[in-house]
Amino acid sequence: MTTTEASPVHDVDFKLELYRSQVALRRFESRAYDLFLENYVKGTSHLSIGQEAIAAGVAAAMRPDDWTFATYRGHAHTLARGVAMTPVFAELMGRANGLMAGKGGSMHLTSVEHGVMGSYAIIGAHLPIACGAAWSAQYRGTDQVAVAFFGDGTVNIGAFHEALNFAAIWKLPVVFICENNLYMEYTRTSEVTAVAHPAADRAVAYGLEPILVDGNDADAVYEIARTAIERARAGGGPSLIEAETYRHGGHSRADPGKYRPDEEVALWKSAERDPVSRYRTRLLELGVEEATLVRIEADVDAEVDAATEAAKAGAAPGEDLLMKDVWANGGAEWRN
């Protein structure tokens, strides 16, 4: 990573915001886990605990009108763009006050207002879709950039390949960010992938530069993302970034993650590797008072608590929603 002098990343206030963002993502996800254990969360959910630096760092590098394309593991990417916690909790709980009134569920978080252009639950599908948004920005000359997040296991599906070539030949303003957390669901990605770095080692196949970044360092992520996004905005075409990270927990709600060696989990959870602890230590080393950090953490906790209660207070979605919005006219009629 080459940090330019002018980068806002050197600014302590900026860093405090980045810390706040990571803490918020962490505590949101921890609460989501509790709520699942208490049976408030129906269906499935895929947490990003351990991967917060990526969602936070990239979001910090985006313009409000840029677009995020996320996956089923998309709570963090959605929140990092400024979406409030209450509707996201409520969506996980299937309430009418949910982000999509309960119709999408945890795997499909979307807030067009915040540039969160959907979370997609079929592996790889959103990569070509992100190309389409980027094409639209290019055609309309709006300077907007599309950012698509995906996992290491996703590089082996056909849609990844089609999207990367497509973005490259049309020089689309899209940034592809592979969060390499080493695992698919219950299988180590290296066991089923022909190259060591699933994304970086494939960049050349699309005429792109290989980019690897420490995905547990929010500053590093921010810098890499800023460079790639600005290049895209300036007409320099797509980038493919591989951010190395780890999920502390299992793949989804029911998974204890037992297929991973204990030492590996312990290593990645350690204060030296965990993105939130690391960032906290960095701030202290930079001379930030601990009290400042504690205040941020307390603020976030209060926000999480309030959002939890507000979400719980939501009603179950009513019958009126069921047949609504299949079509642009608001209805679901397929015949007269």
């Binding site: 979307t110 089609e162 079509w327």
Partner: protein, 325 residues
């Protein structure tokens, strides 16, 4: 009034909309300077240039992903999937993404896009280039589906599809490309979800679509000569489906026959038959009979393909028999 081929009508229909609205773009394989593999889009590249008419790699998921992403951000793309059989390589984008995302996002997004494709048999292309996939698309909640049978309808339904704020699968019967028809001058805009009654009869009703329309009409003439007078409905739009017209015309004659190019099982006529069997039950004088391609992959040889697709003769004979039993 001018006489146009079905093929020529495609370019005219698209051009009509591209002239009107800058947000309409067109993309697909070999659609640019080459004017399309079926020469259905000749002239568009010349008129609208390489930014609005764009050649793609052989990447159907990327083509439709691009269309979807463009539509959700305010454009109105028209994407070509060269042969309708190729929907199978991008079915996820069609059926799981485009069709569902408006509903899943509680109406936050719209997908005003058109996917046009050469559909069906008759050209001896074999089982992977001849399928009628109107039933594939019809079955997915969130997709609209139209199948024009004449040059005029190509233009009118294309305009309706482009202007509609929902995703429309626009299936062109490949075997109709060289056929001609009268087309009025000036703008033509149709409404989705409207069937056309092409012939009025008193004895039986035939509901049909696409390439089968001219065959059903010819069969109706033959049957009329033998004393069976048929109403012929060109369904035109499978979703939305104009069930009112079908129910009304079926009740009027007391009999319904569907003539479908798709293979038998879960062809579109099955849905029509199930609606009629429920809602017009007491008006039916005899069974609803479906005339379809058998439930087989389509063979390539001309002799075999001709046996497989419903022919004028098979339509007439089947109806004749059913009406006399």
């Amino acid at each position: 009034m001018a006489e146009l081929t079905y093929r020529e009508a495609i370019a005219r229909g698209i051009a009509q909309e591209m002239r009107r609205d800058e947000s309409v773009l067109f993309l697909g394989e070999d659609v640019g300077a080459a004017g399309g593999v079926f020469k259905g889009t000749v002239g568009l590249f010349e008129e609208f240039g390489p930014v609005r008419v764009r050649d793609t790699p052989i990447s159907e998921q990327a083509i439709l992903g691009a269309a979807m992403g463009a539509a959700m951000t305010g454009l109105r793309p028209i994407a070509e999937i060269m042969f309708a059989d190729f929907f199978a390589v991008c079915w996820d984008i069609v059926a799981n993404e485009i069709a569902k995302s408006r509903y899943m996002t509680n109406g936050q997004m719209s997908f005003p896009l058109v996917i046009r494709s050469g559909n069906g048999g008759g050209l001896r292309f074999g089982a992977q280039h001849s399928q009628s996939v109107e039933n594939w698309a019809m079955m997915i909640p969130g997709l609209k589906v139209v199948v024009p049978s004449s040059p005029r309808d190509v233009i009118g339904l294309m305009a309706a599809a482009v202007r509609d704020d929902d995703p429309v699968v626009f299936l062109e019967s490949k075997a109709l490309y060289p056929t001609k028809g009268e087309v009025p001058d000036g703008e033509i805009v149709d409404a989705l979800g409207t069937a056309a009654v092409l012939r009025h009869g008193s004895d039986a009703t035939i509901a049909t679509l696409g390439l089968m329309v001219p065959r059903a009409l010819a069969a109706a003439e033959e049957l009329a000569a033998g004393g069976i007078d048929c109403t012929v409905i060109d369904v035109r739009s499978l979703i939305p489906l104009d069930t009112q017209t079908i129910l009304r015309e079926t009740s009027a004659t007391g009999r319904l026959f569907t003539v479908e190019e798709n293979p038998r099982v879960l062809g579109w006529g099955a849905e029509v038959a199930s609606i009629v069997a429920e809602e017009a039950f007491f008006d039916l004088d005899g069974p609803v009979v479906r005339i379809t391609t058998p439930h087989i992959p389509l063979p390539a040889a001309d002799a075999l393909e001709d046996m497989a697709l419903p022919s004028v003769e098979r339509i007439a004979t089947t109806i004749h028999k059913a009406m006399n039993s």
